[in-house]
């Protein structure tokens, strides 16, 4: 639902629309740039950094990072593990066996089979990495998944989907130019954007168009590629195919399907001619030549930086931001031969990133909301010792919630990725709507009250755990304030502290009442009545926080 439809459907009162419009006009931008941030380093800065770089954070994370310098923190977050983790295994065939793959065996190198189960297995596999990884690796991988977007249900073959994911994980902080070349030849993108059907007899322009419109130069103010450039690029890309006989399938070049004539590009690309070539390496060689041309356009670097900015900082890019942030970062990107890491490092260490104007202003995408909650609330997803059925069903449930909230892992709505990262003017406001808001609210209610039981295992938030992590759980003021501080991205007002404390101490009861309950719970947890009271009060207090509009932001 776009914004216009939303307003029509909800028929707000005219003054409310006017109020919103007025708010939108207010100038809230900043002139800060990419100089290194030198301000205070407290839990608020740490939470800002971790929220944007990870999926949620733990109390231990906050303590650990507050103890480092800003610079060291960013460096550590960027110090990713580049080894390939254990491959996803068959956790999906507990009802119907996969004839090609035994239970618990790796499926990515087995014959094509049970693609729905395998795709869900792949989602669960990635989700668990998102929750557990302590570096920026998974957030960057998601950024590139949204950038080189492909739908696993359109790719069909889950082995190819895994190959696609493995590729973007491998390059998440690597060299963007090499990355682009490998993605171009990746079986997943060849399949998704019809590259495997692109021949000298019948050129298919699909990939050639998206390569320029979305993946490299983009359609920003400095871009100027033409329709003829799309046609020329399509001819460069002819001849690539997918060998499905391999496990997993691979791409290969078939020279007799390749267009061997010269390809003339427009003045936007300096009227470059990519010389037609023949032979086994013709496809790869011409691709290199074309990418040299595309990466010579400074707009390519700016387009990627704007995408990174929208994902990691905010969606409004005004003239100051373009001058002070986008342009210098693009310069760094080019100076470093399109290596991604120095750019991210500079951005995350910048005064602009830590500027108050950019704090707490991103509406959490469903993965941040759900997986971030799972991490921050220590949600007890089934351990590996549980049955595959329990593991699969409970993990898939979190992914199903994200899908219902309009963000399906490995299934973005189109090659453009999720509209929240490109749709003017709403951008990430698209995440919250009449469809998604009730889901966001009710899922918190479920996990904090009854939990979800399936396969004899209950996934449920433990409110005592959260309380125990505060510095003095028997002091209601410290408990409430630290819970607010932990879950919310911005400091709470005195009113919010008071209205939240009222869930712990209804009717203005004196503080010692809570102290007695907590102390009794600690000294005698077998006192069922007191323990229940303690649990109920904590539940309502924490639910009142998780239910806040403020909790939707980070």
């Amino acid at each position: 639902m776009n914004r216009r439809e939303f307003f029509t459907a909800a028929s707000p009162k005219s003054e409310e629309v006017a109020e919103l419009t007025q708010v939108k006009k207010v100038e809230r931008r900043t002139a800060t740039g990419i100089s290194e941030y030198t301000g205070t380093w407290t839990k608020w800065e740490v939470k800002h950094l971790l929220s944007r770089a990870l999926f949620g954070y733990t109390h231990a994370d906050l303590t650990s990072y507050v103890g480092k310098t800003m610079s060291q923190s960013v460096t550590d977050l960027l110090n990713i593990d580049t080894t390939v983790p254990p491959l996803p295994t068959n956790d999906y065939s507990f009802n119907t066996p996969d004839p090609e793959c035994a239970e618990d065996a790796v499926w990515v190198d087995k014959k094509n089979s049970k693609n729905f189960g395998r795709r869900m297995s792949l989602r669960n596999w990635w989700m668990k990495h998102m929750i557990s990884d302590g570096t920026i690796r998974e957030k960057m991988t998601l950024f590139w998944h949204n950038h080189f977007a492909a739908e696993s249900n359109a790719i069909g073959d889950a082995r190819i989907a895994y190959g696609y994911l493995a590729m973007i994980r491998k390059y998440c902080l690597g060299n963007f130019k090499d990355f682009t070349k490998d993605m171009t030849l990746d079986p997943g993108l060849l399949r998704y954007l019809n590259g495997y059907l692109n021949t000298n007899q019948a050129p298919d322009e699909n990939y050639a168009r998206e390569l320029q419109e979305l993946f490299t130069v983009g359609k920003g103010p400095g871009s100027g590629y033409t329709e003829d450039d799309v046609k020329a690029a399509a001819r460069v890309l002819t001849g690539w195919r997918i060998d499905y006989s391999k496990n997993p399938p691979t791409s290969y070049f078939q020279s007799n399907r390749h267009d061997v004539d010269d390809k003339q590009f427009s003045s936007f690309y300096g009227s470059t001619v990519v010389a037609g070539k023949t032979g086994a390496t013709a496809g790869a060689d011409e691709l290199d030549d074309m990418l040299d041309m595309i990466f010579a356009a400074t707009e390519t670097s700016k387009h990627i930086i704007r995408r990174l900015y929208t994902f990691f900082v905010y969606y409004e890019i005004d003239a100051d931001t373009e001058t002070n942030v986008i342009a210098p970062l693009a310069q760094i990107f080019r100076n470093n031969n399109y290596n991604i890491k120095p750019v991210i490092e500079t951005l995350l260490k910048s005064e602009h990133f830590f500027d108050q104007a950019n704090r707490g202003c991103i509406i959490k995408q469903p993965f941040d909301y759900m997986f971030g909650f799972a991490k921050s609330a220590y949600l007890n997803l089934p351990p590996e010792t549980e049955s595959n059925a329990a593991l699969y069903i409970h993990e898939k449930y979190l992914n199903d919630i994200c899908e219902a909230s309009e963000q399906a892992l490995l299934d973005p709505p189109s090659v453009a990725g999720w509209p929240a990262y490109y749709q003017v003017p709403s951008f990430h406001e698209i995440w919250v709507s009449s469809n998604t808001m009730p889901i966001r609210v009710s899922i918190m209610a479920q996990f904090i009250t009854n939990g979800r039981t399936s396969q004899g295992y209950t996934v449920k938030m433990n409110v005592f755990d959260i309380a125990e992590k505060t510095s003095k759980p028997n002091d209601p003021n410290i408990l409430v304030n630290e819970c607010l501080d932990y879950f919310l991205s911005m400091p709470s007002t005195a009113n919010l502290k008071a209205s939240t404390k009222a869930f712990l101490l209804p009717g203005g009861l004196a503080d010692f009442n809570w102290t007695n309950i907590w102390d009794t719970y600690k000294s005698n947890p077998g006192d069922a009545a007191n323990t229940k009271t303690c649990k109920d009060l904590l539940t309502y207090m924490m639910y009142s926080i998780l239910n806040l509009a403020e909790y939707q932001l980070h």
């Binding site: 939303f6 909800a10 919103l20 809230r28 249900n153 905010y314 409004e316 108050q356 104007a357 704090r359 202003c361 991103i362 509406i363 199903d400 899908e403 219902a404 399906a408 299934d411 709505p413 406001e429 919250v432 469809n435 808001m437 009730p438 889901i439 609210v441 009710s442 899922i443 918190m444 209610a445 479920q446 904090i448 009250t449 009854n450 991205s489 911005m490 009113n495 919010l496 209205s499 939240t500 869930f503 209804p506 009717g507 203005g508 009861l509 009442n513 309950i517 069922a528 009545a529 007191n530 229940k532 009271t533 109920d536 009060l537 009142s544 239910n547 806040l548 509009a549 403020e550 932001l553």
Partner: protein
């Protein structure tokens, strides 16, 4: 791009506390035809929680016990001549601040249940509140609330499939409060708002103005979406816009007088057409351990201010409901987690107690007082409490049956499988307060002898004959002994029974016939 099955996926999601999943209203006639019928009647109950433990004997003052009261609680007791008199009784009066409730009582709009509580009282605010909300015995831990169970009987499956054409509105609405009283077996049946004009956050109710920043801009947007997309917030706001108040009697004074403000909102929402069955409002500050009265003048001070707010707010609300022509449908009920100790303490206050009076009001209540004045012993120990005369679950069962019209096995389910005698609280009940009073007036209990007593004591009493129960309560309000249960002949009778094994101190002897109870005090040596 393929259109995803978002809606299909979202429909599988269960809903929890919030209970405010948004369903397409156009689907509701279909759902209604499947049997999701409206409640059996259009009656509305407004629960007023007096949080902290209200001092019942300084609220509903037992004038016939005044001599002993003045010995036990001289630090807080209201001067006898200043106690408000009630028409038709000399035994009971009201705190001088409660002029509005007095005039309602005199007009037959107030029903007072004396010494309501539960066996084995608990003195923790939270635990006792839990017991009051759940309606369990004090040694049981129930996860559900009595009104949550009642609403679940009437609106099974809520919130799945709701709102419906017949019930387009939230089942229960807390104004500035939200508690386990409306927790149903699988879902919370209520929602909470602080200000129906700006709902924003449905649970917490915080409405701080967002800062002028990108954060503030997005926060404003999310709140707007929250409001606009939640059918219940729309229904609440629509009722708030459409409804009006006619009474000019509401007390003013902002947050500190928030009970009046809360009840004013309730009246407006009902007038605006909201079909919500239960409203919850609350007033805190009753935990008056110290300086509950001014030392120089006991009719003023913290407790007097609270009772004035309570009385003025109830008076204004009833006035409003009457002027709006809604008084046939609306009843209110006060409760508190416990009363306070008989004896006042040295800091001019009272400590946590046990049984206390409940006030039910409205056009359709049976005006009068159920039960006798709580008996105040001649010599009171610091730990002494009032024994209950009525189980508060009798009051609940009466409201469920005689107000909401829920009967039979449904009523039994609401009461957790237990059976409670119905009290003459609402008009249209099978029991009438007149019959009740007649029985009471025909029962007489004399002072036990000897007093003080050893292990044996004798009790002389007079009834019209029938089944009676003689119970012994300890000073904490615990039922410690059933001394006799059986049929007796009419006229004066003396029964002897043993107090062996009880430690020394005050005990209450209670004689019950049907729902009528009379008490006396015995001192055990």
């Amino acid at each position: 791009m393929k259109r995803r099955n978002f809606l299909k996926a979202s429909s599988i999601l269960p809903l929890g506390i919030g209970g405010f999943g948004i369903k397409n209203l156009s689907a509701t006639p279909f759902l209604a035809s499947l049997g999701l019928k409206a409640a059996t009647n259009d009656k509305i109950l407004v629960l007023i929680q007096l949080s902290g433990g209200n001092d019942g004997i300084n609220t509903i003052i037992p004038l016939d016990q005044y001599t002993n009261l003045s010995k036990a609680r001289s630090n807080v007791l209201i001067t006898e001549s200043e106690v408000l008199k009630l028409t038709g009784t000399t035994k009971t009066g009201l705190h001088p601040a409660m002029t509005e409730v007095r005039s309602m009582y005199d007009n037959g709009l107030v029903n007072i249940v004396q010494s309501a509580g539960y066996p084995k009282p608990n003195f923790s605010h939270f635990r006792s509140t839990d017991i009051w909300h759940s309606g369990s015995d004090s040694d049981e831990n129930w996860e559900t609330g009595w009104l949550g169970r009642a609403l679940n009987e009437e609106f099974p499956g809520y919130p799945t499939g709701y709102p419906t054409q017949d019930m387009p509105d939230p089942l229960a609405l807390g104004i500035g409060t939200f508690s386990t009283v409306t927790q149903g077996p699988t879902n919370q049946m209520g929602i909470g708002v602080s200000n129906p004009a700006t709902v924003y956050n449905l649970i917490n109710g915080n409405t701080d103005t967002p800062p002028n920043s990108n954060y503030g801009k997005e926060l404003t947007y999310i709140r707007l979406v929250n409001d606009q997309t939640n059918v219940y917030t729309q229904a609440i706001k629509a009722a708030n816009d459409k409804g009006k108040n006619l009474s000019t009697k509401y007390p003013t004074g902002g947050r500190n007088n928030s009970l009046g403000e809360q009840l004013k909102i309730v009246a407006r929402l009902i007038n605006g057409g909201l079909k919500t069955k239960v409203y919850m409002v609350s007033i805190g500050g009753f935990d008056t351990h110290a300086t509950q009265v001014d030392a120089s003048d006991h009719k003023v001070g913290a407790h007097a201010n609270l009772l004035k707010t309570l009385s003025d707010s109830i008076g204004a609300f009833q006035d409003d409901i009457q002027l709006l022509g809604l008084d046939d449908r609306v009843a209110g009920m006060t409760y508190s987690e416990f009363g306070r100790r008989i004896m006042s303490n040295l800091s001019g206050g009272t400590d946590h107690g046990a049984a206390a009076p409940m006030i039910t009001f409205g056009k359709n209540v049976q005006g009068g007082i159920l039960g006798n004045s709580p008996v105040i012993p001649d010599t009171v120990q610091i730990k002494d409490n009032l024994p209950m005369q009525f189980d508060m679950r009798q009051v609940y069962a009466s409201a469920i049956k005689d107000w909401f019209g829920i009967t039979g096995t449904k009523l039994t389910n609401v009461m957790g499988g237990k059976s409670f005698d119905i009290l003459p609280i609402f008009k249209g009940s099978n029991v009438s307060i007149k019959d009740f009073e007649d029985i009471v007036s025909n029962i007489k209990i004399y002072e036990p002898f000897p007093n003080p007593a050893g292990d044996e004591v004798n009790l002389k009493f007079k009834t019209d004959g029938g089944t009676i129960t003689i119970s012994v309560f300890d000073p904490l309000g615990n039922l410690v002994k059933i001394a006799f249960r059986g049929r007796v002949a009419s006229g004066e009778i003396v029964k002897s029974f043993s107090l062996a094994g009880l430690s020394s101190g005050n005990y209450f002897i209670q004689l019950a016939q049907g729902n009528s109870r009379v008490s006396s005090v015995i001192i055990k040596n």
